[in-house]
C-alpha cells in the first residue's frame, strides 16, 4: 500500500516505513540506544532525500525519547538542572547545525555533509564498541571478571570557572563542559537526525562523572528538547520535516522498542554490543562505498521554483 509523502514529494510503501520503524525501534529497545543513527541511513537507502530523512527522523526521535524518558522521569532518575544546562548548549548547537545545513544545502553539498558525518561517527563508535565488546567476551570466556576501566582524571576540566552544584548528580562542577558537550550533540543532532545519546551517555559518565543511575534519564530529558528544537528549526529554515513520514516511523518505532526491550533482557550484554557494533560498521561501510565508487548517475536535479 503506497502513501504520498508531501514533503519528500514521493510515494513510499506504508508497510515498508512502519516495518523499518519497527525494526529500528526493536533494535533500539534491545540495545538500549536511540536508533536515529540507524534510521536516517536506512531512509536514505530507500530513496528519501537525505535532507528530509534527517529532519523527519529528528521529529520521530522526539516521540521515542518522550516514550523512553517518561519512565525515568517517574523514577526521578533525571538531573533536571544538568539536563537544562545540556539543553541550553544543545539548542545553541542545533541552531548552528541547522544554519550550516542550510548553507551547504544551497551549495549542493548537504548530502555529502550527512554521509561524511555518518561515515566518521559510525566508524569510530562502531570500532570502539566492537573492540570493547570482543575484549569483554574474551575475558568472560577465560573466566576472568571484567575489569572496569578507570578513565583518566579529567578533573581540571570540571574545575573550570562558573561552577554550579548539581544535587541530583552529587557534583559541583563548571557549567562549561556540559554546555560544550550539549552544543556538540546539538550540532550532530541537526546534521545527522540523531538524538546523540551515543555521544552524550559516555560523555556524562567519563567526562562529567555523573552517577550512572541518572545518566540515561537526563540524556533522554535533554534529547526531547534538543530534537524538538531541531525539528522546529529544520521546519522553519529548510522546510524538510515530513510529518507523514515521521508519524509512520513513530508508529513502528515506539511499538518495536517495547518488544525489543523485552528480548534485550534475555540476551548477554557483551554479545549484544558486538552485534550492534557489526550493524553500525555495516551501515558505515555501505555509506562509504557509495561515496567512493562512481555513482551510476553523475548528475542530480534540484527544483528551484519559478523564481523570476
Amino acid at each position: 500500500m503506497q502513501i504520498y509523502l508531501p514533503i519528500a514529494e514521493m510515494s513510499a510503501n506504508i508497510v515498508t516505513l512502519i516495518g523499518m520503524g519497527g525494526l529500528v525501534g526493536f533494535m533500539s529497545g534491545m540495545f538500549g540506544v536511540g536508533g536515529g543513527f540507524l534510521m536516517t541511513p536506512l531512509l536514505i537507502f530507500i530513496g528519501i532525500p537525505p535532507a528530509v530523512a534527517v529532519a523527519s527522523e529528528a521529529n520521530q526521535i522526539v516521540a521515542s525519547s518522550v516514550s523512553g524518558g517518561l519512565a525515568h522521569w517517574q523514577r526521578r532518575a533525571v538531573d533536571i538542572r544538568m539536563g537544562l544546562i545540556l539543553m541550553s548548549g544543545g539548542i545553541a548547537g542545533s541552531y548552528a547545525g541547522v544554519q550550516l545545513f542550510k548553507l551547504l544545502r544551497a551549495l549542493g553539498h548537504v548530502d555529502l555533509l550527512i554521509s561524511l558525518s555518518y561515515v566518521i561517527f559510525l566508524s569510530v563508535i562502531g570500532g570502539l564498541m566492537l573492540r570493547e565488546s570482543l575484549h569483554a567476551i574474551r575475558e568472560t570466556r577465560r573466566g576472568r571478571p571484567i575489569r572496569v576501566r578507570r578513565p583518566g582524571q579529567h578533573s581540571w576540566i570540571l574545575r573550570l570557572p562558573l561552577r554550579m552544584r548539581f544535587r541530583q548528580s552529587r557534583l559541583y562542577i563548571s557549567v562549561i563542559p556540559p554546555l560544550l558537550i550539549g552544543f556538540l550533540v546539538g550540532v550532530l543532532s541537526a546534521i545527522m537526525g540523531v538524538g546523540g545519546g551515543f555521544i552524550m551517555v559516555p560523555a556524562m559518565i567519563y567526562l562529567l562523572r555523573m552517577p550512572t543511575n541518572v545518566v540515561i534519564g537526563t540524556s533522554l530529558f535533554q534529547i526531547i528538547f534538543v530534537t524538538s528544537a531541531v525539528t522546529i528549526l529544520h521546519a522553519v529554515e529548510n522546510q524538510t520535516v515530513d510529518i507523514v513520514l515521521a508519524v509512520l516511523l513513530m508508529i513502528g518505532g515506539v511499538i518495536g522498542a517495547q518488544f525489543g526491550a523485552i528480548v534485550g533482557q534475555r540476551l548477554r550484554g557483551e554479545e549484544l554490543r558486538a552485534l550492534l557494533a557489526l550493524i553500525v560498521l555495516g551501515v558505515a561501510s555501505k555509506l562509504l562505498l557509495d561515496l567512493v565508487f562512481q555513482p551510476e548517475e553523475l548528475f542530480s536535479i534540484q527544483r528551484m521554483g519559478t523564481g523570476s
Partner: protein, 269 residues
C-alpha cells in the same frame, strides 16, 4: 462554454500567427481529455488519462499523423555534476536551466522523426530535445565567472546538462516519448492513453494536439489539465511552506502525544 470559446480563440490566434496554415483547416482537429483535473491524495500512485479526438483529412495524398504533448508547469532546475575529489564523489559543478516543464510527455502515431523535420518539431517544441530553455546564472555557486570563460563552453555545457536533465526526468517517468502512443481509428478518430506517474509536479498542465500532414501542422488544439494536491497532504504541504513555525510545533506536538500515549498504554498492559 466560455472555456471552449477561449480555446477556440487561442487556436485562431495561434493559427493566425503561424500564417502558413489556412483558416479553413482550423477545425481539422477536435480533441479533449477524459478528465481535466487530477487530484493527488495520500493514496495517489499515478493515474491514466485518455486524450482523444477527431481529425478531418481533406487531402488524400500523404499520411496524417497526430502528435499529443502534455507539459507540466515550467520551473527552473539546478543540475549538479559529481566529480571525484580526494577519492570521493562530490557535487562539483552546477548550472541552472529554465524554464523547463516539470513534466513532459509526447505521444504520436509514428516516430517523431518520420512525422516532421527537425525544424518543424523545434518550432513547436515537440520532443524533450526540442524544449527551449535558458542558462541561468547560479546565484549561490559561481561568484567567479572564470569557470566559464566564453559562451561556446556555456552552450556546450548547456547541451550536456539538458541531456542529463532529460535522462534523469525520463528515469523518474516524468518525461516520456511514446512513438506509437496515438492510435488512429477508421481514419477519423484518434485516442492516446497516458499514465501520469506519482511524483507529479502540481499546477496547470498544458495539452497540445497537432495534426501533421506532409511534415506540416495542419490542425492544432490546446487545452488545460490541472494537477492538484488535496486533503491532508495539501494542508501539510501548504502549512510547511506558509506557516513553517506552526508546522514544526505541530510535528513536535504529535510526537509528544504519541510518545506519551504509547508509553502509558504499554505500562498498563
Amino acid at each position: 462554454m466560455t472555456h471552449k470559446t477561449l480555446l477556440f480563440r487561442c487556436v485562431l490566434g495561434l493559427l493566425g500567427m503561424m500564417g502558413t496554415i489556412p483558416t479553413a483547416h482550423a477545425n481539422a482537429l477536435v480533441a479533449d481529455l477524459s478528465k481535466d483535473q487530477i487530484r493527488v491524495a495520500s493514496n495517489f500512485t499515478g493515474e491514466k488519462i485518455l486524450l482523444f479526438g477527431a481529425i478531418e483529412t481533406t487531402a488524400t495524398q500523404g499520411a496524417s499523423d497526430v502528435v499529443v504533448v502534455v507539459r507540466g508547469p515550467a520551473e527552473n532546475f539546478t543540475l549538479r555534476q559529481k566529480k571525484r575529489v580526494a577519492g570521493i564523489w562530490v557535487n562539483a559543478e552546477a548550472l541552472t536551466l529554465g524554464p523547463l516543464p516539470g513534466y513532459y510527455a509526447v505521444a504520436s502515431t509514428r516516430p517523431l522523426d518520420e512525422i516532421a523535420p527537425v525544424s518543424e518539431r523545434a518550432k513547436h517544441e515537440i520532443g524533450p530535445e526540442n524544449l527551449r530553455f535558458n542558462l541561468l546564472e547560479d546565484i549561490a555557486q559561481k561568484p567567479d565567472s572564470a569557470a566559464h570563460p566564453d559562451d561556446g563552453t556555456q552552450a556546450e555545457d548547456g547541451a550536456l546538462y539538458h541531456d542529463s536533465f532529460v535522462r534523469i526526468k525520463s528515469q523518474q517517468k516524468l518525461y516520456s516519448v511514446d512513438p506509437t502512443g496515438v492510435r488512429i481509428i477508421g481514419a477519423r478518430l484518434f485516442r492516446a492513453e497516458l499514465t501520469l506517474p506519482s511524483g507529479l509536479p502540481f499546477g496547470t498542465y498544458i495539452t497540445e494536439f497537432f495534426l501533421f500532414q506532409d511534415g506540416r501542422v495542419i490542425g492544432y488544439q490546446t487545452g488545460e489539465l490541472s494537477v492538484e494536491i488535496t486533503g491532508l497532504e495539501h494542508l501539510l504541504q501548504v502549512a510547511a511552506h506558509d506557516m513553517p513555525l506552526l508546522y514544526g510545533l505541530f510535528g513536535v506536538f504529535i510526537a509528544g502525544v504519541m510518545g506519551w500515549g504509547v508509553a502509558t498504554l504499554f505500562r498498563r498492559v
